[in-house]
Symmetry: C2
Subunit: 307 residues, 2 copies
Amino acid sequence: MKVFCQLKLNEKEKQLLSNGLEDHEVIYAQEYEEDVAKELFMDCHVAFGNPPLEWIQHTVNLTWIQLESVGLDPYQEEINKNNIYFSSLKGFFDRPVAETVIAGILALYRELPALITAQQANKWIKDEIRPKCETIKDKKIVILGAGSIGKTVKDHLLPFQPGITLYDIAPERSDYYSLQELDLSLKNTDILIGCLPENDKTINFLNAYRFSLLPESAIIVNVGRGTLIDEDVLITLLKDKKLRGAFLDVTREEPIPADSELWQTPNLILSQHTAGGSKDEVIHKVQFFLDNFYNYQNGQIKNLVNP
Amino acid sequence: MKVFCQLKLNEKEKQLLSNGLEDHEVIYAQEYEEDVAKELFMDCHVAFGNPPLEWIQHTVNLTWIQLESVGLDPYQEEINKNNIYFSSLKGFFDRPVAETVIAGILALYRELPALITAQQANKWIKDEIRPKCETIKDKKIVILGAGSIGKTVKDHLLPFQPGITLYDIAPERSDYYSLQELDLSLKNTDILIGCLPENDKTINFLNAYRFSLLPESAIIVNVGRGTLIDEDVLITLLKDKKLRGAFLDVTREEPIPADSELWQTPNLILSQHTAGGSKDEVIHKVQFFLDNFYNYQNGQIKNLVNP
């Protein structure tokens, strides 16, 4: 079988993939110019990674593609056609993302940006900082998105003993049953965590109206999609101290343009879409693919996303 | 009864204390010059806070002192005399300190100092940072000190699913039974967390020899006492990349002198002894004292430290 790998791998990662597929031919996109890679892709039966949509639209041999993402853009239409099996990495990023959420909340609550900045200037600011510090204990937390990331975030927060409520667009997995209930609860929310995918219902979900419901002491964390938040509103609220702070892993534009106002907004930490990352991320992706390749050969692909 | 308050309180905190002691006379040190305060102290039966040792050595009326610290220096000798009841704030700082430990580990693992520094310069560094990020999951953690802080740290870490071992000088509450066992385990330790009090056995516990046992990928967190660590050795190891990073809440000298090498040591975060702090720290201390004042009147002082 011909397997196409769209991921850029180092030697160790290549070795792992090639060894795992020793009875098959592996084509590494990184070894070819784009037009040659595209031609080779047309011959392949299986693909690993996120190749250009247009390649997939023209292939006739492809039976299965293992994406290296949880998100399905820009493939949704192809997925719906049901000609090719698509599987995602759903669940793959849950733990690093959840750890990053905790990192973000605690960086804001333990005043790490101010401490790190003071350290750059050899400056002792204990007496100013210590009374500003806060704890997660007893805080009221609302997690937007009750998927696997939202639930993993909740699991990591439990020993801190906050109050946690899950909200989801799909009411059956939500602690709230309506937007009205959610909006009512926001005025008592200390920590609002966005773990929602992007769709018609979630774009601009955190708009001026919904932000206005939050108390000035609230902090926001977003690890879902950048479009969840009206960033201009957020910037103004942070500048006017109408919110205590925000930690954004995702933003509307990525990379964030050098002239974006986000960079210098006070009490905002930008983690630059690193939340899902880890030193062994690619190795683990290859391992996931190899496991799923075995599943594929047995007709039991994991994480299928076709309707 | 005359109650002496050594803590500096704001109006709200004073109100709380005075209301709670309405049948008693409260003397606030902050309202007097030091020599007058000392004279007033001599008349008091109860004290709240950490007054100068010499005052305590000369008082004859004092029956109980509620310290505002967990540590007992410089009072140990007075405590051993057993003329005055001493109680500490043992347990009081467990949760903020544990949250700070998690903040510190995750700040190092999610590369927050580099991200915050890049943000100051409007600089997108995702591709450089993401492959350096790490997760607590599956890491091997050794917590030095199995007191209430060490145990609370462990509780907070459990959902991250690392391996955790508690070491204590008191072997009955330790997972290791000897220093030899601890030292053997250090070569596989990813995260070493210091939660030890200061005494003959813990001063310089993390010396050049013990540091040399750790792998280069290890990180250190210290929230116990600054004397645990040979700081010169730590600075050299971090500069030479023989350790991945360190998060120190406590240091040998506090405030850290402006010309200390610690400030500019790479991969070191200094949280400036803020770990136990929180916005409501003083209010909570007053509440603790009032509860314990009630206990005192009933002959059941909590957190007594006399032998």
